[in-house]
Amino acid sequence: MQMTEFKPKIVAFCCNWCSYAGADLAGNNRLNYPAEVKIIRVPCSCRVNPMFILRAFQRGADGVILCGCHPGDCHYTSGNYYTRRRMALLFSMLNFLGIEKERTRVEWVSAAEGAKFAATMNDFVAQITALGENKRLEDLRCKK
């Protein structure tokens, strides 16, 4: 069978104040990154429930990235500090279950870091493409 080129599905949660603005800036500066990345706007990275991340994998995402303000710069002062703890523990747990650690990532991207946003997305997509399809957290019912 001829293998078609693997196009990963990537969900990027971006906080409204820094990372979403950083993504907008990447657009303003016409900095390309793969279209596989789809952004969901959340008020703060701390709005992202681990359930959303698992949900994304269940529905067929191959990688999930969470972007927020740099620690110390949270619009809500402390939101991303909680995110940091939650995600550190969640990622370690997923990996403990044998889920590839490359599938999940947290990046701090400020509103001024359009270039960082684009570079991060390029890198993440390349990483997931190299890793291949998400098999370990897939839900066959949700597969087409």
């Binding site: 620690p71 500090y81 550190a88 279950l97 947290v106 957290l137 839900d139």
Partner: protein
């Protein structure tokens, strides 16, 4: 150390009932088999005399029952707490889950409880009853007569790796309280961490695929006292009961472990009640070990009013990108 017996507990319960200190007692009652002990509520000395049991299978952690029990009625309820139970007790108090004024807690020492599965492994099929005889257990079997097993060989995993003989909460103590123990409870977690990602995946795939989503782990867990569980709430987006795909149980157990992370006292009830013998406590212990590793050592329930690690932070906390490596996972 004083050995706790049914008689001692009965006497204490009767005394407190008679004095009016309490008007009901949370205790254990035999089920169909002697090893099939279930929690029960007693309101009179006569009821206690008739049904109250205490023995190597009186392992149920009563803390969780206090949430409903303290709402139910006026007056105080008597609860017997093993050292490990007192941690759950404190944790629930920290979370304002029951009214401390409505409880009379009697701390009882504990040398460990038996695990019927380990007994069956040694005595074979058809175990019809188990009796205590000093440091031994006399096991009655249907096909092979009586067998004598050393209690030490029948201890539940959580008791072999007991983390503390110290009571962290009580109104009154029977016997003496002990110390926090430097246990080997993380050895098994460490073993898994040292496996490769693939091996770990295979291990958990094997374990979790046995899950029948009976919810016993959730129902018994003293940290799972939600008024309404997200897994029973159609609006939560994770309410799925059918067990039709391997994703389901991963989602369930990861989310459940995450919800109790930093709140789980490692009482081990989840693994005790799992009908499929899934080592669920390893998930919770992984979180505990990571929390100790990443942040400061933290024992949920050690004190009332502690700030759980997931509702806390430090500016210099480690980054999620460093988590897998720091956690000791071989990846």
């Amino acid at each position: 150390m004083q050995k706790v017996t049914r008689e001692i507990l009965l006497a204490k319960a009767a005394e407190l009932l008679a004095a009016g200190t309490v008007n009901r007692v949370l205790g254990w009652k035999a089920g169909e088999f002697t090893y099939d002990v279930t929690p029960a509520l007693f309101t009179t000395a006569a009821e206690l005399e008739k049904d109250f049991v205490y023995g190597p299978f009186s392992g149920a952690n009563f803390s969780k029952y206090l949430v409903k029990e303290t709402r139910r009625d006026e007056g105080k309820v008597l609860v017997f707490l093993k050292p490990c139970d007192t941690y759950s007790f404190n944790q629930l108090l920290t979370e304002h889950r029951f009214d401390r004024e409505r409880v009379y807690a009697v701390g009882i020492p504990c040398d460990g409880m038996a695990d019927i599965q380990r007994i069956k492994d040694q005595a074979g099929d058809g175990v019809s009853g188990v009796e205590c005889d000093g440091d031994n257990l006399i096991v009655h079997t249907l096909y092979d007569g009586d067998k004598t097993l050393a209690m030490a060989d029948c201890l539940a995993e959580r008791c072999v790796n007991c983390k503390s003989k110290k009571h962290v909460a009580y109104d009154e103590l029977i016997g003496e309280t002990g110390d926090v123990i430097d246990s080997h409870r993380f050895d098994e977690v460490e073993k898994l961490e040292k496996m490769t990602e693939d091996e770990r995946f295979a291990f958990w795939q094997n374990e979790l695929s046995r899950c029948i989503r009976c919810n016993a782990c959730r129902d018994v867990c003293p940290a799972c006292t939600c008024e309404k569980c997200v897994f029973g709430n159609p609006n939560s987006g994770v309410e799925n009961k059918a067990i039709s795909d391997s994703f389901e149980e991963k989602m369930f157990h990861v989310i459940r472990a995450f919800h109790v992370a930093g709140r789980c006292t490692d009482c081990g009830e989840c693994s005790r009640v799992c009908p499929q013998n899934i080592p669920l406590h390893l998930l919770n212990r992984k979180f505990i070990r990571d929390i100790d590793n990443f942040y400061d050592e933290y024992q949920a329930g050690a004190e009332v009013g502690q700030r759980a690690p997931l509702v806390n932070y430090k500016q210099e906390d480690l980054e999620p990108s460093e988590a897998v490596e720091r956690s000791g996972n071989n990846a």
